[in-house]
Symmetry: C6
Subunit: 76 residues, 6 copies
């Protein structure tokens, strides 16, 4: 994964920050399983499971804490 | 999900902050599974499971940490 | 859930703060499953399971982090 | 649980802080299941399960974050 | 594990910080199971499981919080 | 567990801090299950399970957050 995908944690709005948190969560998966075909095949397993969706939302919540702090909670 | 749904983390009261944390938790799910029919079908699976409800409450707790910090814990 | 239940994160003592963390954890469940009869029926499932009790204690711990920070750890 | 069990988060040493984190973790369980006989009966279920012991250690770690912050990491 | 593998939490960019978070997550596994053959044999178990990949991404997210704070969120 | 095992969270390097986080994680287990023979017997259960190793790494990550903050991220 030599490409450049994360140059800053700054975002213009909280919503863009939340979307960056989603990107971070997905990248956390891709570093472990880089094969996009495998990831695609696994999609039904988690997108149709309440437990898996809650777990995914939890990872997003943790990454959003980081992004929100990096943006001083968009207070400025 | 092109709509604008999160413009600020500021809320007037802690309770509104807690409710924003619930919104964030649900949005974390919807970014992964945007199909509301699927989400509706999954509802009985988690709304009647003690483990799933505890897991959902945990995601809310994590998001509430972020919202509470953003509001300086409503100290002002 | 139109009632007002959370007007401040301030508490007089750490123990009251811990008890507020318990309230927050339960409210996190109730927003997802507001039906108190369902919640009552689920009680044996988690109150007699070591794993469920540990998971519940974890949610309390996360909410207690928030309440303790809001009270500057009762240092004053 | 009308007794007073938590009057301060301050401890003299990091080790006492860690032990307070264990107390907080156990209290988080007892607020959900106050019946000590039930808790005693559940003990073999988690004290002999690697997964349950790891989960218990995680709750302690989260509570230790709170206690350590409250003591300014015993830096003084 | 006598080798030196972690001399600083500073990284030049957020992406390098994310990659350090991945290293920390893997090292957390290796301290418990240092046998690389065992780890290699376990790889299919988690790299093809949606739940395991989400759990791995969560550990990365927690470690990324630490690395991001150590770098003041690459604000400077 | 009357012995003294934790007198400071300060470490000379980030790597020693990570190793202290591992110690904290193991102590979190030992306070719940002090019998080292039981712990030894449980070892194969978690050291050969991808899920258990990820869970162990997560506890280390949480404790490393605390140790890193206590050392001001070894910035000085």
């Amino acid at each position: 994964m030599a490409d450049e995908w994360l140059t800053t944690l700054k975002t213009a709005t909280p919503q863009e920050g939340f979307e960056l948190a989603i990107t971070l969560s997905r990248r956390g998966v891709k570093y472990t399983q880089p094969d996009t075909e495998v990831l695609h095949a696994l999609r039904p397993e988690y997108a149709n499971s309440a437990d898996a969706l809650t777990a995914a939302s939890q990872v997003v919540a943790i990454n959003f804490q980081t992004v929100a702090a990096a943006n001083d909670y968009w207070r400025g």
